[in-house]
């Protein structure tokens, strides 16, 4: 199946998803629809003091719940304008299928009646009709199927775009933890799961039901006793199928669970091999592994037995129905009540009825899983967007001239925590940054420095305290205005696939080439970029491996420069740099920070010795403040301690030894 090629479908697999799922994105059945739903709920109600869910209606019943009209309604809403077209296509396909199945039975009946009564004209006529049917099967039927598929794929594209656009506007809180991975899963696995509903399952169900009803009606018209017999046997085989499939499903779940456990043991074995060897633990580990293999074998053999019994039962049922139908028909035929043609037509018509009852249950089950994915997608779209949830004025109130008079960032007694239960990240932090100043935030990791940036950018709102930007409360700026005033150099360059020029222009849509080059020059990146073979057209991202972390950082700086925003936030601009690039960055810093209010977070204290002010952050508050020399001379000061520690190098952060890269 194309699933193999899908292995490259998710180069960044969602966290916690094993390779099996990664390999087959389209076949990943939502075995557990709960986590993502919970995530969606978390997204909605994650704000502290937010509304609690009304009862936990998300138990196992949710699958059934999403099966009903509510689920279908959500699906139609997701489909949007394409729904009527899709419904029309499915209707058309169903009619084609009905015509085909009934016509085959009718023509077989005609053929046999003609032959048994030696009616040559009837035979000839039926054969012509048969030819016509062939033409029909070759044209209209595939056309109708193509129509459904085409609209279905359009719907998938529509859903993907809608969900992606929505994610782009979700509050940043939603991206914390594993949610980033879940977003990808929504766009890949869940859409793949949901599209089964409108690409095949619902169509199949409609076709199956309509054709079965048509077959029963036609049989009743031909010979009602035969129809009765067929329906009864079909019900019987449906019952057998349901019973066994549920059993096999249960055992299969156990097999899957144990296979997953086996994979865990295997992974442990492989990642710990150096230790296993060093401590001569091969035997112990191997015993554990073989035990896990045996654990898989037991339920697998049980499944084999179930499957064998099921296949025997279903063989018996299907043969039994065939034999029974023939038997009843022969008995009627001997009595002269029915023609041989009718008999064979009934045998032919029996198939769709049996099929509906045997595979209908399975289709319904798959539809349930598929609608669960629809449900998840729909609930994602219900999560309020960033702008809606914050009380923000509309954009366009201010223009740049208004920035000048009020000239500072003021944070006062700011308290903040990411999760209600989580630890307080900022606990009464206060700071002031004057216009045009370079202020540095230093402190141990986890002290809350990056969080200060996030609050300034309006990604989160503090639980308590006030933030003023340019003399106005931060909340009175629209997010668009606020962000237009700030440029960011993030901790990791986070460049996007595309050319270097595109990446720099990211900071200013529509930037001209001279502007891009000027920005690169300011950021000291120009001569590096110009030295590359493709210069500004060098590709970043896939295959752009020639760009080192430090060079990426310079490009990220150019991107911030071109934005030309009055406030510049830099998060550890030199943490991952080699000494050469660090010198370049330090040199660029002076030019970049001119005429801007700059906040720098630094781990390497050497970067910020020349800062106008250094703010030492610890445990969510500013504990020291002053110039480098001032702070160093303060006996017993925190900065002095930090400085002494960092004296010994990089704090183990960027130690990369050659041995971590082994031969391929």
């Amino acid at each position: 199946m194309p699933g193999c090629t899908g292995s490259r479908a998710t180069p960044y697999p969602p966290r916690g998803v094993g390779p099996r799922e990664r390999q087959l994105p389209s076949t990943r059945i939502a075995q557990d629809p709960q986590p993502s739903r919970r995530a969606a709920r978390h997204l909605r109600e994650g704000r502290c003091g937010g509304a609690r869910p009304k009862g936990s209606a998300l138990g196992p019943g949710c699958l059934r719940g999403s099966m009903g009209w509510a689920g279908l309604k959500k699906l139609t809403r997701l489909m949007g304008k394409l729904f009527p077209l899709w419904a029309l296509a499915v209707l058309f396909a169903t009619l084609c299928e009905l015509v085909l199945k009934l016509a085959v039975a009718h023509l077989v009946k005609g053929l046999l009646d003609a032959t048994s009564s030696s009616d040559v004209p009837l035979l000839r006529q039926t054969l012509w009709q048969f030819g016509g049917l062939l033409a029909f099967a070759a044209t209209l039927l595939p056309l109708s199927n193509y129509w459904v598929a085409r609209i279905g794929h359009d719907i998938s594209g529509h859903i993907r775009k809608t969900v992606h656009e929505h994610i782009q506007k979700l509050p940043l809180r939603s991206f914390r933890g594993s949610h980033g991975g879940e977003f990808i899963s929504w766009l890949t696995n869940d859409v793949a799961e949901a599209e089964k509903a409108y690409l095949s399952l619902m169509g199949n169900l409609a076709k199956g039901a309509v054709v079965a009803v048509g077959a029963i009606v036609y049989m009743t018209v031909l010979e009602w006793r035969m129809a009765g017999f067929v329906v009864i046997t079909a019900l019987l085989s449906a019952w057998v199928t349901m019973r066994y499939t549920s059993q096999v499903h249960r055992i299969s779940a156990t097999v899957q669970e144990r296979l997953a456990a086996l994979t865990t043991v295997l992974r442990d074995l492989l990642t710990g091999l150096a230790e296993i060897k060093a401590y001569n633990l091969e035997k112990r580990v191997l015993n554990k592994y073989t035990a896990a293999v045996r654990e898989v074998l037991t339920p697998a053999l049980a499944r084999v037995d179930r499957q064998a019994s099921f296949s025997a039962a279903s063989t018996f049922m299907s043969y039994g129905t065939l034999v029974g139908t023939l038997g009843v028909a022969s008995w009627l035929a001997i009595g002269g009540q029915v023609s041989i043609g009718v008999t064979v037509a009934c045998v032919e018509l029996r198939n769709p009825v049996v099929q509906l009852f045997t595979s209908g249950g399975y289709t319904l089950m798959s539809l349930g899983a598929s609608l669960a994915a629809v449900d998840r997608l729909a609930s994602v779209l219900n999560v309020p967007q960033e702008d809606h949830e914050l009380t923000r004025p509309l954009a366009g109130v201010a223009d740049k001239d208004q920035y000048a008079p009020a000239d500072q960032i003021i944070m006062e007694d700011v308290h903040f925590q990411y999760d209600c239960e989580g630890p307080a990240v900022l606990a009464g932090l206060s700071l002031t940054v004057r216009n045009g100043e370079v202020a540095a935030l230093v402190g141990p990791s986890g002290a809350g420095k990056t969080t200060v940036f996030r609050l300034l950018m309006g990604f989160y709102e503090p639980q308590r305290g006030s933030i003023m930007v340019f003399g106005r409360p931060l909340v009175s700026w629209s997010l668009e205005e606020l962000r237009s005033m700030i440029a960011l150099v993030p901790q990791e360059a986070s460049l996007f696939p595309g050319t270097v020029a595109e990446n720099i222009a990211f900071g200013k849509p529509g930037a001209t080439m001279p502007e891009i080059v000027a920005a690169a020059k300011t950021a000291n990146a120009h001569h590096i970029i110009a030295g590359w073979e493709c210069g500004y057209e060098t590709l970043v991202g896939e295959g752009g491996s020639q760009i080192s972390g430090g060079q990426g950082q310079l490009i990220a700086m150019a991107r911030a420069v071109i934005k030309d925003a009055p406030i510049l936030l830099m998060d550890e601009p030199t943490s991952a740099l080699d000494t050469v690039t660090e010198a370049l960055v330090k040199d660029a810093l002076q030019r970049v920070t001119a005429n801007r209010t700059t906040l720098v977070i630094a781990h390497r204290l050497s970067t910020i010795e020349e800062a106008d002010r250094i703010l030492v952050v610890e445990a969510g508050r500013v504990v020291e403040e002053g110039k480098h020399a001032e702070l160093l001379s303060r006996a017993g000061g925190r900065y002095r301690k930090l400085h002494a520690d960092s004296f010994w190098g990089l704090g183990g952060r960027s130690v990369v030894s050659c041995e971590t890269v082994l031969p391929r």
Partner: protein, 608 residues
């Protein structure tokens, strides 16, 4: 050593010279056959398949009898045929049941066997293989590829046996019923197959294209999610949405192309599936009218045609599936063919070197990683006497950790000499060599299990006092006691509560508890802050007693306890001596030391 990239099965399809792959197929089959246990199960289930094929024919024969009797209104004959049909139904179910059971047992046992063999092979491979990439590659082989092998061993192999048998039996009876009609129908078959093949050809490449476009879209989505802060602050939401829309539109376009090809395939295959019936009913009908054939025969003919036509038309697909399965099986078997570490060698007791005063002796050692050009070690020579604590320092990439890995025998046959306790590493019995050495990596691996399991590592004889003393020495005892289950806490449950530093501390305690002559620490304290590192390493010295210790560390500040420093650069030792001697020499060591210390003089001197 097999250090080449595993062949990419998709790449092989593009490769015009994929002859090499073709040749591996029979080898894989042989491999498979030799591996499969319980071959009697396979053979007896095949025997049952023969019987099933016969009962299928018998069923058709009785249908013919029943229908003919019904048309002739012969109630007695009809009853007889009906009863026989009932009997056949029972027999068929019974045969199917036993065949499934036997075959299922065979395939599940075979899978368990292959899994066990792979595991066995993987633990006996040198750890040098298991770099991150290989780990996920091997896991993927033993899950995804194994799933394909399972498909082969259960369904596809079974169909391969059953379908031809069923077809042959049915074919014989068809010939008996009406050989002319049979020949005619089977002349149609190749035509049908060729047409089906012609129209299904573009589908695999189109579906690959479809998945590639989907993957490109997922890539953009991933970028827009992981770069969300940058996107928001630069107001690039619309830009990313546009990019994503472009990729999705592309995927929709290729999905439509695929759907179009599928529709054409359906059209042809639908018509093709009906064609044989049209022929049989048409010609057969005339023959019945002419009295050459009975109506019952015609019906039996159609019934059996089902048995033959469908499997025959499915056969190319089956072969295709099996071919893919075999490619996956080959990837699994590659795991089983991985070279194992050598076994046997000199044991500690028998070695005269056990008396050697020199713990580690290295002279003229040359080494480069397999498949790499540039040498990591070039003419490395040094000596560590028993009971010494020696620090190995130098810029990143100079080959420090490589020395430790060679000492453990993770890599084979380095040129030059590397002696542990007087015996060349290549002559040691590997298990016994490793018994002499305790080793701590930069990112240590803690086994799933309790903290106690991890500290003792299988040495049940160690007393609790010993364990606690070691835990104290590395500074984790108090932390462990703060956990509700103390030393019985499962490491896996701790998750993020166990910091990288604590992991390193535990690994050191584990190494201390292993009663080894030589202790190798590879950046083992890199996640501790400078202060804790220093105190840990100082405390360690007392515990080491007469053990030999070789420490690789990046931060020089922690290493003051070392009795000697070996400064490495470009794969050789360039300086050696005590801290003071080296500083006085003003060479590489002094430069490293200066670089790590700050350009500014240390105020108050955290260092001294």
């Amino acid at each position: 050593m097999v250090d080449t990239e595993p062949p990419d099965p998709t790449a092989a399809e593009h490769d015009p010279g994929s002859l090499k792959r073709l040749r591996t197929v029979p080898r894989t089959v042989v491999h498979l056959w030799r591996l499969l246990p319980n071959r009697p199960l396979l053979l007896s289930s095949s025997g049952l398949a023969v019987l099933m094929s016969l009962s299928g024919v018998a069923g058709a024969h009785f249908i013919r009898g029943l229908v003919d009797a019904a048309i002739a209104r012969d109630a007695g004959a009809a009853l007889g045929a009906g009863l026989l049909l009932g009997g056949i139904t029972g027999l068929e179910s019974l045969l199917g049941w036993s065949e499934r059971r036997l075959f299922g047992r065979f395939s599940e046992r075979a899978m368990a066997d292959i899994r066990a063999r792979c595991g066995q092979r993987l633990v006996s491979v040198s750890p040098a293989f298991h770099v991150d990439k290989h780990t996920s590659d091997h896991v993927s082989r033993l899950t995804n590829d194994m799933a394909a092998v399972q498909e082969l061993a259960s369904e596809n192999l079974r169909s391969l046996v059953r379908q031809p048998l069923a077809a042959v039996g049915a074919l014989a009876y068809l010939g008996h019923l009406d050989w002319q009609l049979t020949v005619l129908v089977f002349c149609l078959m190749p035509v049908l197959l060729a047409v089906g093949e012609r129209f299904s050809r573009p589908i695999s490449s189109q579906s690959r294209a479809f998945y590639e476009t989907l993957s490109a879209a997922a890539q953009v989505a991933q970028d827009s999610i992981s770069g969300v802060e940058v996107i928001r602050i630069f107001g690039a939401e619309n830009l990313m949405a546009r990019r994503y829309r472009r990729e999705v539109d592309e995927s929709v376009r290729s999905a439509r192309a695929l759907a179009r090809s599928l529709a054409v395939l359906w059209a042809t295959s639908g018509a093709m599936a009906l064609l044989p019936y049209l022929v049989v009913f048409g010609i057969g009908g005339y023959r019945v009218v002419q009295g050459v054939m009975t109506a019952g025969s015609l019906l039996a003919f159609v019934e059996l045609l089902n048995l033959v036509a469908w499997p025959t038309s499915e056969f190319p697909n089956l072969i295709g599936r099996i071919r893919r399965n075999l490619a996956a099986a080959a990837r699994v078997f590659e795991v089983m063919d991985l070279p194992t570490e050598r076994a046997g060698g000199i044991m500690a007791g028998s070695s005269a070197g056990g008396l050697s005063e020199v713990a580690i002796n290295c002279s003229g050692l040359e080494f480069s990683y397999p498949g790499r050009q540039n040498p990591v070690l070039s003419g490395l020579s040094f000596e560590v006497r028993r009971g010494e604590t020696v620090a190995l320092v130098g810029p990143s990439g100079c080959g420090k950790s490589t020395v430790l890995k060679l000492l453990l025998g993770f890599y084979d046959c380095p040129a030059g000499e590397l002696r542990v306790l007087g015996t060349h590493v290549v002559h040691w019995d590997l298990t016994d060599l490793r018994r002499q050495i305790a080793y701590v990596q930069q990112v240590p691996y803690l086994f799933p299990g309790t903290i106690r399991d991890n500290l003792l590592c299988g040495r049940e004889a160690v007393s609790d006092e010993h364990m606690v003393a070691a835990a104290r020495a590395v500074g984790v005892h108090d932390f462990v006691l703060s956990l509700p289950d103390g030393y019985e806490t499962e490491v896996g449950e701790l998750g993020a509560r166990l910091s990288a530093g604590q992991r390193q501390r535990m690994a050191i305690a584990r190494a201390l508890l292993k009663d080894a002559t030589v202790l190798l620490l590879d950046e083992a304290t890199s996640n501790l802050d400078a202060e804790s590192e220093r105190s840990l390493l100082e405390g360690l010295r007392e515990l080491l007693h007469d053990r030999t210790c070789l420490i690789v560390a990046h931060r020089l500040s922690g290493l003051r306890t070392a009795s000697r420093f070996l400064v490495m650069d470009n794969g050789t030792v360039v300086e050696s001596g005590t801290h003071k001697e080296l500083l006085d020499r003003a060479g590489l060591y002094a430069r490293l030391y200066r670089e790590q210390s700050h350009p500014l003089p240390a105020p108050g001197g955290g260092s001294s």
